[in-house]
Subunit: 167 residues, 2 copies
């Protein structure tokens, strides 16, 4: 394995570990527990999982890896605050399935990229801007979204006591 390959393998492995940890957290909650707020007056766990699923679904176009699987998530989980969405709520069972599907397909899509392709621009930066700011690349998006997922994981883990807290 050359250095580039190994650097990307390390970053993708870190992504997998984060997703696996959140998947375990999600599996540890009953459907009822998903309705708990992470702190008084704050988002429900259910809402945070939906928010992450929608954000990760958006990675397909953002990383230029193809079409989204679930654009219908945005209205409930990205464009409206928790409990203000007036449409049909995704059920907890549906959300669990979507979470697995989106993240599974994402890591498959990651595997299709060669190491140097991670240094190419992400889908929200123009070629002109990218020429000036070459760090606005796919890898930057991957690490940023990993950090974002961990941010909300820390909030989810305030609820329930069946898993040891991350130290």
């Amino acid at each position: 394995m050359n250095a580039n390959t190994q650097l990307i393998a390390t970053a993708v492995q870190a992504w997998r570990l984060t997703i696996d940890r959140i998947s375990k957290t999600l599996a540890s909650f009953t459907d009822d527990e998903l309705q708990l707020e992470v702190a008084p007056g704050k988002n429900r766990v259910y809402c945070l999982v939906g928010h992450l699923a929608a954000t990760h679904d958006r990675l397909f176009p953002l990383l230029r890896l193809g079409e989204r699987l679930h654009p219908e998530l945005d209205s409930q989980f990205l464009e409206n605050p928790d409990r203000k969405f007036l449409g049909h709520d995704v059920t907890p069972a549906e959300l669990r399935t979507i979470w697995s599907e989106v993240n599974q397909k994402l890591v498959e899509a990651f595997a299709s990229l060669e190491p140097h392709e991670w240094l190419q621009r992400h889908g929200s930066v123009s070629e002109e801007d990218f020429a000036k700011e070459p760090l606005r690349n796919r890898l930057a998006v991957l690490i940023s979204r990993l950090s974002h997922a961990a941010y909300h994981e820390g909030q989810m883990r305030l609820v329930g006591g069946s898993l040891p807290s991350r130290s």
Copy 2:
């Protein structure tokens, strides 16, 4: 800039962004607000900042970048639960200074590493184990600690309302 250099620059930039965001969060809290719990019965913000400062201070030996600056933090922030430490508490003012100092010195130390050195083993894996698991390298530690910092940042940001929540 060659590909390796650019991959590492991207990861280190992501680290900086995470630390800068947490530093802004810390600056947004008064000393009194640092004493607030992130959720009922959970850690105080003060404790989480100390926990992160101690964890980042440990990165010096873990990344084989030199001696720690503040080993005295461990007893209060890593080895005892919040409010169970019987020694002298670090004051909020001291904690703010330590946070800045540790993170400033860390990014300076990161700059001393060549890209290929990020693929070398971290300080807690033996050469023998590393030969079998080459992804247990310095870069893996960097991304893991970035994720860990974001995890606790998400908890801190449940307190107070002066900064917009991360979407």
